[in-house]
């Protein structure tokens, strides 16, 4: 085999490995952004996909279970509302009537099982750095395995 050929084959192998890595990684980690109305409209197609859902927490819908760690509420964009189930500690800015973004998958009976809540906070006026602790999507080593 000539030298040039060997180099081309080596390059192709590396390229293939890279494409595999990127493709596999993307499958794992891509999060689509949807609104409650879009999710309602395409319920079946959204099953199993990791989604980010943004909207307002419906007033009066927020329930906290006695264990203090389980939350149920509804998220609306004005035309549709999606029930959300979340276990964990929500960010400080999370309250009824405010904007919130949740990440997770649609589960049985149309309930959205959120693995993280990111409260929206003011975009232009307050320092963004403070958002770090309210963005649990951040990479916490060891945690990514438990993501559904």
């Amino acid at each position: 085999m000539s030298r040039a050929k060997r180099f081309i084959i080596g390059g192709l192998v590396i390229l293939a490995a890279l494409v595999y890595l990127i493709y596999g990684g993307m499958q794992e980690a891509i999060v689509y952004f949807v609104t409650p109305a879009e999710l309602k409209a395409n319920d079946a197609g959204s099953k199993g996909k990791f989604l980010r859902l943004g909207g307002m927490v419906v007033k009066g819908s927020l329930q906290r279970d006695p264990d203090g760690l389980t939350y149920r509420f509804e998220l609306t964009d004005g035309s549709a509302a999606i029930p959300i189930y979340f276990r964990g500690v929500p960010p400080d800015l999370f309250t009824e009537g405010k904007g919130a973004v949740v990440e997770g998958k649609i589960g049985d009976k149309g309930v959205f099982v959120a693995s993280a809540i990111m409260a929206k906070h003011s975009e232009e006026y307050s320092p963004h750095e403070q958002g770090k602790e309210s963005s649990p999507r951040s990479f916490i080593p060891g945690k990514e395995k438990t993501k559904p």
Binding site: I14, I30, I140, P141
Partner: protein
């Protein structure tokens, strides 16, 4: 007054910079050598004027001159002195000012150090500096002016973001900026060499030291940033693969690649176009990073405000990429005639592979970072790429890199004989395999961390083995003791031994990452007073809540008595701080560090204070402390590598 002095200095410096761009071109056109002196004078002028402007801004901050808008937004009367100074890089306008200042300091240093060398290149080197400086001055003067005044003058300022009031915050941005700016030096030399068409290797040798320096600051900047994130932000992690973090990390990859491939060019005169491309990419990435941070085109938790600055940086990025690669394409004929690889098993090919892996890592991180933009532009669907993508993609690449870190420095140039391989790698490989078996039998059951630890052991073993052989040889020849033999060896070949020490530091960092990524434990619980949570060897008893009014904020802290295997670790008090004018409280996590693992406590919520119930988040992060230790080892190694060589002794690195 202060604002006036600062602003006028900036405008005058801009004029100097324009002069510095025109002078070398005039000299070239007219053949009048005197214009070359103009290029130097322009740098000197900018140095004085920008220093004056930066000093004016610092003075304004320190003397709380609230007629300056920037001062209002970044200090209050109550701000202590050192946080007034750090206000210089607390926000966009000031950090651009700081960037320009560091840039012009670097330019001045280059102009001064090489006043008698590189006669042909220097005017063009200084011209490139003036171009970059002119861009930053333009931005500072017209798009993000730190000397903007307010009227009426407010009585007090708004103050620095409380999160920035941390000792690490004082060091993190200047370190990063120094790293970024440092990469301008090799870029300026590369461009000058391309302009002149003199593409011999002497300039590239000159830029090596500068690149090491820039690399060093980049590494430290990223590590301190990670430490700050871990120490202050209170979410328990140190790296989130956020676009802004990626922006700071990406230039590190081509810079690292360049430091390795440049050795191949020095030795074998290969990879010329490749090396030039790496320099251009590294420099362009520093501008890209600022674009990303300042434009708000990607959602980031660190995002600064948007505005015309982002567009200007994008335009400059386009100019750099098109100009530099255009010039490279134009000169490519001068770069031909490179010898080929003799064998796949050689140091050249190890370094080549190292470069391929580093550039692959860069490509994947870059792609993941801007993928939301691509997706929205092409298919219209909004999405984000999460941390798992980056972890998944980079882990194997970095593992290959660790392996190469063991192989590269020891394998022979040109063609490694079987004998060479056996001599250098047999025993280290055996040692690493032994450790792997012990680990596998003991506690490490997962493949990736086991591979990671084994490779770390392999690299360490190769370095120790090689050094031990060399020390033995010296003892035999010169009859020196172990320590003085080590010193002589390091002195004789600073680059090599400095590099090896840096490699050891990187191994420690990989150890910390592998340990904390694979074996972290995370637990969350709501505790009443007196209740105890047990996690592994730790027993955490909740003692109650305490509230207090601090000078700048209201503070609620939870007191937790912590025992490790019955051993008392004392009272840990994670807190939530409520600042007036901030929408959400800021968490103050606390942790206990040890060489085996960190215990990290976050107070994530509480009931009314009388009821004394708190929600605690607890993280156990094994081996994390080694990461910070690795940083210190890297500092040590870099110092060994760039320590000025003894007069007459050692080898001269400089061209």
């Amino acid at each position: 007054m202060t604002a006036g002095v600062g602003y006028v200095s900036i405008l005058l410096a801009l004029i100097c910079a324009l002069g510095g761009i025109v002078a070398p071109i005039l000299a070239h056109r007219t053949g009048n050598e005197r214009y070359f002196a103009g290029a130097r004078a322009a740098i000197l002028g900018q140095f004085v004027l920008v220093t004056l402007a930066a000093s004016a801004l610092i003075y304004g901050l320190v003397s709380t001159d609230f007629s300056i808008k920037y001062v209002v937004n970044n200090t209050t009367r109550a701000t202590p002195f050192y946080y007034r100074v750090t206000g210089l890089w607390g926000a966009l306008e000031g950090s651009l000012m700081l960037w320009e200042w560091i840039l012009i300091i670097f330019s001045g240093l280059v102009a001064w150090i090489y006043k008698d060398r590189h006669r042909e290149l220097m005017p063009w080197v200084l011209m490139i500096f003036s171009i970059v400086s002119a861009f930053f001055l333009l931005v500072v003067a017209f798009a993000s002016n730190p000397f903007e005044t307010v009227f009426p003058v407010p009585l007090d300022g708004r103050g620095l973001n409380p999160l920035l009031e941390d000792a690490n915050m004082m060091t993190h941005p200047p370190l990063l900026y120094t790293g970024f700016v440092g990469l301008t030096v090799p870029y300026a030399f590369a461009m000058a060499a391309l302009i002149v068409g003199k593409l011999n290797d002497s300039w590239i040798v000159t830029t090596r030291r500068w690149t090491i320096t820039a690399w060093f600051f980049l590494t430290l900047g990223n590590l301190v940033g990670a430490y700050w994130s871990y120490h202050v932000l209170g979410w328990g992690g140190y790296w989130a693969w956020d676009p802004v973090e990626n922006a700071a990390f990406m230039p590190w990859l081509p810079a690292t690649a360049f430091l390795h491939s440049i050795q191949v060019q020095e030795r074998r005169h290969m990879l010329k176009v490749w090396n030039l491309s790496l320099i251009i990419i590294a420099f362009a990435l520093t501008i890209f990073g600022t674009f990303l941070t300042r434009s708000g085109v990607l959602s980031s938790i660190h995002a600064f405000a948007s505005g015309p600055v982002g567009i200007l940086f994008l335009a400059f990025l386009a100019v750099i990429l098109i100009g530099s690669f255009g010039l490279l394409a134009y000169r490519a004929d001068h770069l031909k005639g490179q010898p080929q690889l003799d064998s796949m098993v050689s140091r050249e090919s190890a370094f080549l592979l190292n470069n391929v892996v580093l550039v692959s890592a860069l490509f994947t991180i870059f792609l993941g970072t801007i993928f939301p933009l691509i997706s929205e532009a092409v298919t219209g669907s909004q999405l984000s790429v999460g941390a798992p993508y980056f972890n998944w993609v980079t882990a194997p690449l970095f593992l290959v890199l660790v392996f190469l870190m063991g192989v590269g420095p020891m394998i022979a140039w040109r063609r490694a004989s079987l004998d060479n391989l056996k001599r250098n790698f047999l025993w280290p490989a055996v040692a690493a395999l032994l450790i792997a078996v012990v680990l596998a039998v003991g506690w490490v059951r997962d493949f990736l961390p086991l591979l990671g630890f084994t490779l770390c052991a392999f690299v360490t073993a190769t370095i120790l083995f090689d050094t031990a052989l060399a020390v033995r040889a010296r003892r035999r020849i010169a009859g020196e003791g172990v320590f003085s033999a080590l010193v002589t060896l390091a002195r004789r070949n600073q680059r090599r031994y400095g590099g090896l020490v840096v490699h050891l530091g990187v191994v420690l960092i990989i150890l910390g990452i592998a340990g904390s990524m694979s074996y972290s434990v995370e637990r969350e619980a709501t505790l009443g007073q007196g209740e105890t949570l047990t996690v592994g060897p730790y027993k955490i008893q909740f003692q109650g809540l305490r509230a207090s009014q601090q000078p700048t904020h209201f503070r609620v802290e939870g007191a937790f008595q912590v025992h490790n295997n019955g051993h008392d670790l004392g009272l840990l008090t994670p807190a939530l701080k409520f600042f007036p004018g901030q929408q959400s409280p800021i968490g103050r996590a606390v942790y206990r560090s040890s060489f085996t693992q960190d215990l990290y406590l976050i107070l994530s919520g509480f009931s009314e204070i009388e009821k004394n119930r708190a929600t605690l988040r607890l993280l156990v992060r094994p081996l994390l402390a080694w990461m910070w230790l690795g940083g210190f080892v890297i500092v040590l190694g870099t110092l060994v590598a760039i320590w000025p060589p003894k007069k007459g002794g050692g080898r001269r690195d400089e061209g």
